[in-house]
Amino acid sequence: MSIRERLSGNEAVAYAMKQINPDVMGAFPITPSTEIPQYFAQYVADGLVDTEYVTVESEHSSMSTCIGAQAAGGRAVTATSSCGLALMFELLYVASSSRLPVTLACVNRALTGPININNDHSDSMGARDAGWIQIYAETNQEAYDNFLQAMPIGEHPDVRLPVMICQDGFITSHGVENIELLEDEIVKDFVGEYQPENYLLKHENPLAVGPYDVTNYYMEHKIQQAEAMKAAKPVILKIAEAFEKVSGRKYGFFESYRMEDAETALVLIGSSAGTARAAVDKLRAQGKKVGMVKLRVFRPFPMEELAAALAGCKAIAVMDKAESFSAAGGPLFAETRSALYDLDTRPKAINYVYGLGGRDFTVDTAETVFAALDEIVATGKTGEVYRHIGQRSE
């Protein structure tokens, strides 16, 4: 029996952590993820978990703590946002290259500067090449569900990679929604025990972690990491399938919404999907063949699957909630357009960078984007590929 509750996204993730009962948590506050270690501190104070709650002096040390704890043979979690994730940058690479399946709850917030506390994806997108699995949520329910799937994915023997579970700062982290929680026993069963093959505290043999890797070996180790990320794809689907059995909720690499006969579509990540879905419904009611793809898994990038989902479209707009200052578009666009290249006939593609620093994304904005796609379909001309939307100067 699932439990019906009303929780914010932060509380939902903290609750998932409580149910998992990890061995170590590295705790340091940063808006908007602060509530996660706060809720968890109360679980610790009330004796509801066995976790060693390590109140570090920085996010740099929270990731370092997680690395040490996970290498020791424990399960380690942390939560952060924005500058906190940026401060961890070097250690994100250490965690993934040491093949330590640490789990990080990332509550997406704009990266400084100027300093801004509101949502966009510039923090986690900046860490996209750090070797972490990245899974994004649209809703509080998804943030909770994704967090429960993180460890079975990351700890899988074929994978052994750290996992970042992302949700939109304030929009879901602080927004209270109805949510269905799984019972503790079901969670325990689903997540299972962490059983690493080797760890620092193992009785049978000592272990050395984090070598100086000379030119003769470094590349092989990087290829092993790359192979692990490829291997994560089927594992993510397998775990999603198992999760559906216990929760009734279905997950994949992405969600295709009204894409069956769609001629134009938006590709986006996170909470904006709810808004885009409303725009799609509105335009569908007017007889327009529009759809949406909401990407859930950004790392590993589901290249072939995404291309197949978009193959029938005439024009698509990829919505990036992060700048990459490439002068050629955002990160999601770069990868999505690259995916389309392998199709024999491919839709025209444009990029909108939107929603930076908490700028609103409305149904109107989504309709404007669909109108731009209509124009491209009608004229056959793509025009400017790299665009911004929602800014004052429009």
Partner: protein, 309 residues
């Protein structure tokens, strides 16, 4: 049982030969001396900051460490060790780990006084049951003898070179041991390689077996960076102590104990003149530098004595 170096070195070596540290390197000597202080039945997890020691002792696929070992980055050894210790506490409580483990971190002065200072301070404040050992060789040796906050005044380092308008490093050495004392942790000590290593051995043992955080600052000379013949290591360390440049003392639960008081305090110049990094201080016209150096050591020594009495 009374300390006996001959018996101590008969113990199974925990830091194996074959590592690639320079001949005469102080880091390896510190590591061996500290690890000898572990009871043989106890296991250890060693954490190491990036630096000479790390790149010379764990080159994939070889490791010189007989105990479990983790290197994560330059600036986070203490926090990494804290994470290992935290996991140990839980796993031990849950019955998943049965062995007794001790947690020892090694960092150079770069990883300890400077880039890893915040991480060290945090870990000590939180009270992890661990020992942080700084092998202090007074400069960033791994990258080629750049000055650190531990480099003493007037030392000629590659980022504080002497020149027409430069007398070497302009600032005095940071007194990290005192800063660690100010953390109010159960045990802080300063040591170096002296005679039969009794001082270092006993301090390492106390550091390891005192519950809670402990900090051990070990002057670990670098023949390359300090510019002296490697075989003069013991003499250099002796002079550091006899001149009171590097006093031996410990602070147990806030109480100062002087480990050794020279019968006749030697002039600082005796220590300085052995080393190429201070050569310019002995040029004619630079006598004032020796005086400044002497006055500084005298002042620090007096302060220490007043704390110890």
């Amino acid at each position: 049982m009374a300390y006996n170096l001959r018996a101590e070195v008969q113990k199974k070596e925990r830091f194996a030969p074959g590592h690639r540290l320079c001949a005469g390197c102080g880091a390896g000597i510190t590591v061996r001396a500290v690890l000898r202080a572990l009871e043989e039945e106890d296991r250890a997890v060693v954490t190491n900051a990036t630096g000479c020691l790390e790149v010379s002792s764990f080159l994939y696929p070889y490791t010189a460490w007989e105990d479990s070992y983790i290197h994560s980055a330059f600036e986070n050894a203490a926090a990494t060790c804290g994470g290992v210790e935290a996991a140990y506490n839980v796993l031990k409580k849950k019955g998943k780990v049965q062995d007794n483990f001790k947690f020892i971190t090694f960092g150079g002065d770069g990883g300890t006084y400077d880039i890893g200072f915040q991480s060290l301070s945090g870990a000590m404040e939180r009270g992890h049951d661990m020992v942080y050992v700084c092998y202090d060789n007074e400069a960033y040796m791994n990258t080629g003898i750049q000055r650190s906050s531990s480099t003493p005044r007037f030392a000629d380092a590659t980022t504080s070179p002497t020149g027409k308008v430069s007398n070497g490093k302009r600032q005095n050495k940071k007194d990290l041991t005192q800063i660690m004392v100010a953390h109010g942790i159960p045990y802080v000590a300063q040591s170096t390689f002296l005679g039969n290593f009794k001082d270092l051995h006993e301090k390492a043992h106390r550091a390891i077996y005192t519950p809670g955080p402990a900090f051990l600052n070990v002057m670990s000379p670098c023949p390359r960076g300090w510019r002296y013949p490697a075989e003069e290591m013991a003499e250099i360390c002796r002079l550091a102590v006899e001149t009171c440049v590097w006093p031996l003392y410990e602070v147990i639960e806030g109480e100062y104990r002087l480990s050794y008081e020279p019968k006749t305090k030697l002039p600082v110049a005796e220590f300085l003149k052995k080393q190429g990094r201070f050569k310019h201080m002995f040029a004619s016209g630079n006598e004032w530098m020796l005086e400044v150096a002497q006055n500084y050591v005298d002042k620090k020594w007096k302060e220490l004595l007043s704390k110890c009495r």
